[in-house]
């Protein structure tokens, strides 16, 4: 049973908490580090940076990834940039301002101490990445360039063309491969974690399935680090990569790790609208495009004219009209809901009337096509490849899509879950973004956790176990867990139903998008609960997984992942139902201001909801971590 949820936030002033805590945490001396085994699951920004840093410190690290190479992790697809409170632009930025913007942007549903630490180490990340050779954009004098990014009034975003995630991940990956060569990190590719192994209430290892041979393997360690990303693919259509899933986190949840705020999902305003039923995923267009593009729809419903035939007077630049101060740069949730509103009114554009225009003609007229090409060339090319339309001549069409999930496994200040020895980093944890993540903050958090937080905090945990060997992987707990995985694999192959895994995933996605998407209400959420359960039951009875267990079998891989997404979807609905307020990415139609803005209830809901698994078919238990705000005043977000 869980007692009260204690985040173990250090005492002291906000500015000194991390510095003081770093001093008070126990250290493991260099000679002893090599006696500790640490498993890192996932090789994205958080996992690769953590594994590389732990390897450099001298720990024995094992990295497990289902990819064929660590460099494939989905961090690679992040386009826009990474925030760092360097104040290189002399425009009034500071650690406190980045902290403040992140807390406010998260709609006051994140922990002050974590967010301040994130802002504090943001500057070190920029230094580290630059030293690794990450080719950030530069000014003519050779110094680093910055731009402003969705929701910020200062230019603090460092960027590498439209491929910032790629370049940062390649930096972390190169550091990781250096440790692989040095022998401190053992790399297991195409290994999917399917079970967390517990002993005496501690996480002591994991079970993986080799995706090529099907072999089920036990891995034992002193601590397990999950850096396994978010769960946006619960919507089927999202900007997440096809393989992104919740399985590693969910299997840990089923072993007792609390899942916090699952209803906090982020819908990104600038994605390319779906074009047909066969659509396999959605593609994001970096929101940096909103710096120069103007968003509009026709004034009238069902305007049949092409965009160039609609004069300015007949256009509605709805963000500029409603939010004169921020205009097209309002935060993601605000931009998304407004786009949904105009499309729902029947003013959507494109063949399926499911988008809004993002128009660059003014920017091209002002700066010239070459300047726009230099800033966004690769994004424009990408858009043209997908849609067959040239955005230098025709406005882009965009529509919101699921992009990021703020919820995740609950962790304390040291990034350890309520399960001793289980640490969770990056998007997989819930810790820093509250109910809504600001642009250019995901890369920052992943790298903060991996480079600059975990390497300190994990020592504080391990110090208790000095001299204890990791459990023998032939112990009964490992054997039992292996058997469980083997049985599960056999079960999928034995069902012999009529529909594919993808069929059910797509159907699940539609339910989640309709009822737990951009806006939610009680009736819809109750419907979601019953319909998801019914579809999930059918899935377990009627899915068709062909082939065998001992080969590369992609349907089999997906079968378990989709089963976990079904369980997660129910928890999302339950979380959304019990959070009787609107905040950030969670918009309850019953709770809005007269102007249709999100209406928080700080009296009742200034807390984290952390859910405890009670077994399949049984409702989970809701625990609370109260959020204390001592350094910021809770205000209603206003971007007018």
């Amino acid at each position: 049973m869980i007692g009260s949820l204690d985040a173990r936030i250090p005492a002291g002033s906000l500015e000194n908490k991390w510095t003081d805590h770093k001093f008070s945490m126990r250290l493991v001396n260099p000679n002893n580090k090599r006696r500790f085994d640490i498993i890192v699951v996932g090789s994205g920004l958080a996992g690769a940076s953590a594994a590389a840093s732990l390897g450099e410190l001298g720990y024995r690290v094992k990295v497990l990834t289902y990819h064929d190479s660590p460099r494939r992790a989905h961090s690679i697809a992040a386009q826009g940039g990474i925030n760092g409170a360097k104040n290189y632009q002399n425009d009034g930025d500071s650690v406190f301002r980045l902290f403040y913007d992140t807390i406010k942007g998260g709609d006051y549903r994140s922990r002050e101490a974590n967010v301040y630490r994130l802002a504090e180490v943001s500057v070190d990340i920029i230094d580290q990445a630059t030293a690794q050779g990450v080719p950030f954009a530069r000014e003519y004098g050779g110094l680093l360039d910055n731009r402003s990014f969705g929701g910020a009034q200062v230019s603090r975003t460092f960027y590498a063309r439209g491929q910032t995630g790629q370049q940062l991940l390649l930096g972390a990956y190169s550091a990781l491969m250096r440790q692989v060569a040095a022998g401190t990190v053992e790399l297991h590719t195409r290994s999917e974690m399917l079970e967390l192994v517990m002993h005496d209430g501690r996480a002591v290892g994991v079970i993986t399935r080799d995706l090529i041979s099907g072999e089920v393997q036990a891995h034992s360690a002193h601590a397990v680090v999950l850096a396994t990303g978010g769960y946006g693919n619960v919507y089927f259509l999202s900007t997440n990569a096809k393989m992104c899933n919740v399985t590693a986190a969910w299997r840990a949840h089923r072993k007792g790790a609390l899942f916090a705020n699952p209803c906090y999902t982020q819908i990104h305003p600038t994605c390319i609208p779906a074009s047909d039923d066969f659509q396999s995923k959605l593609t994001l267009m970096s929101e940096s495009l909103r710096n120069d593009g103007r968003i509009w729809v026709p004034q009238t419903h069902d305007d049949g004219r092409g965009p160039d035939e609609i004069p300015d007077d007949d256009r509605d630049y709805f963000l500029e009209r409603k939010y004169p101060a921020f205009g097209n740069l309002v935060p993601r949730d605000v931009a998304s809901r407004n786009a949904k509103a105009v499309v729902d009114e029947g003013r959507g554009v494109g063949p399926l009337c499911n988008g809004v225009y993002l128009d660059f003609s003014d920017a091209i007229g002002r700066d010239g096509a070459d300047v726009i090409r230099a800033k966004y060339g690769n994004l424009f090319d990408m858009y043209e490849r997908i849609t067959g339309e040239n955005p230098y001549q025709v406005p882009m069409r965009i529509y919101p899509a699921t992009h990021y999930t703020m919820g995740g496994l609950w962790v304390d200040y040291e990034l350890m879950s309520n399960v001793a020895g289980l640490f969770v980093l990056g998007e997989a944890n819930f810790s820093d973004h509250g109910a809504n993540r600001l642009g250019a903050s995901a890369l920052m958090q992943g790298l903060a956790d991996g480079y600059f937080v975990l390497p300190y905090t994990i020592g504080n945990y391990l110090a208790d176990y000095l001299g204890e060997a990791a459990l023998n992987p032939n112990e009964p707990v490992f054997k039992d867990a292996k058997q469980q995985v083997t049985d599960e694999v056999a079960r999928w192959l034995s069902i012999g139903g009529t529909h594919s895994v993808d069929y059910y995933h797509r159907e699940l996605g539609k339910l989640v998008w309709d009822y737990i998407g951009m806006s939610r209400n009680q009736t819809g959420l109750e419907k979601a609960l019953s319909e998801i359960a019914a579809l999930g039951e059918e899935y377990h009875r009627n899915v068709r997984v062909l082939g065998s267990a001992d080969t590369l079998n992609q349907s089999l891989e997906k079968a378990g992942r989709v089963a976990d997404l079904f369980e997660l979807a129910e928890l999302m609905a339950r979380d959304a139902l019990t959070r009787e307020e609107s905040c950030g990415g969670h918009f309850r139609e019953e709770h809005q201001t007269e102007e249709g803005e999100a209406l928080r209830d700080d009296e009742q809901f200034a807390h984290v909801a952390a859910w405890e698994w009670q077994g399949a078919g049984t409702a989970s238990t809701r625990h609370r971590e109260e959020l204390a705000f001592e350094n910021v005043e809770l205000t209603q977000r206003s971007y007018k």
């Binding site: 992790a73 580290q128 066969f278 067959g388 480079y451």
Partner: protein, 255 residues
Amino acid sequence: MSARINLTLKVWRQAGPDTEGAFVVYEATDISTDASFLEMLDIVNERLIDAGEEPIVFESDCREGICGTCGLMINGRAHGPQKGTATCQLHIRSFNDGDHITIEPWRASSFPVLRDLAVDRRALDAIISAGGYITVNTGSAPDANLIPVPKETAETAFDAAACIGCGACVAACPNSAAQLFTAAKLQHLNLLPQGQAERWERTEAMVETMEAFFGSCTNHGECEEACPKEIPIDFIAWANRDYIKAKVKNRKLAG
């Protein structure tokens, strides 16, 4: 505008690494021209599963042309007919009704076939771990603006760093050489001031690791043609020059 077309696919099927493979013909009927190439294969796979046949194994992940997971030989061309485009970003509008399309895995002895269209590309990671990094332990970096990098240098380094590690350069090369992949990583790091300390060691180690796995470059230029990020072959010339210098310099240092 969107239309629906019929295609005939000739697809390489191979049950496992140690089994013989063969081409199998599938009719891909009623496919929208707005579908991506991989979405077309998704549709074919759904129909195969409905018919009780195991789906075609092919790899992909981001489907945005950046992760480098996908990669198919389409009518003998790595990533298919559209220049500067990874397989996942190729769309059916590049094809015509009635087209016959041959789909194969990357063909190179250093990329063994795992199943159907999926191959093992770990040899590329081995080249990176041989020296494709700048040694800087976490926490030891100086302030980022202490080292100015001329904009042009940074831009050129970026052009090289854009490599997605898909392996198309190897697949397209008649010699299965990995020069473009290796040279791109080398020049990304060798051009930057941060990369100078290890420049010569890095160059020798990466080139020699590459040679242990892959064939030799004889300047066919097919790699540049196939590269989805259009990384220019000039980087190979630069890397070759660095390699010769490295051999001399490293010997001097050793002496």
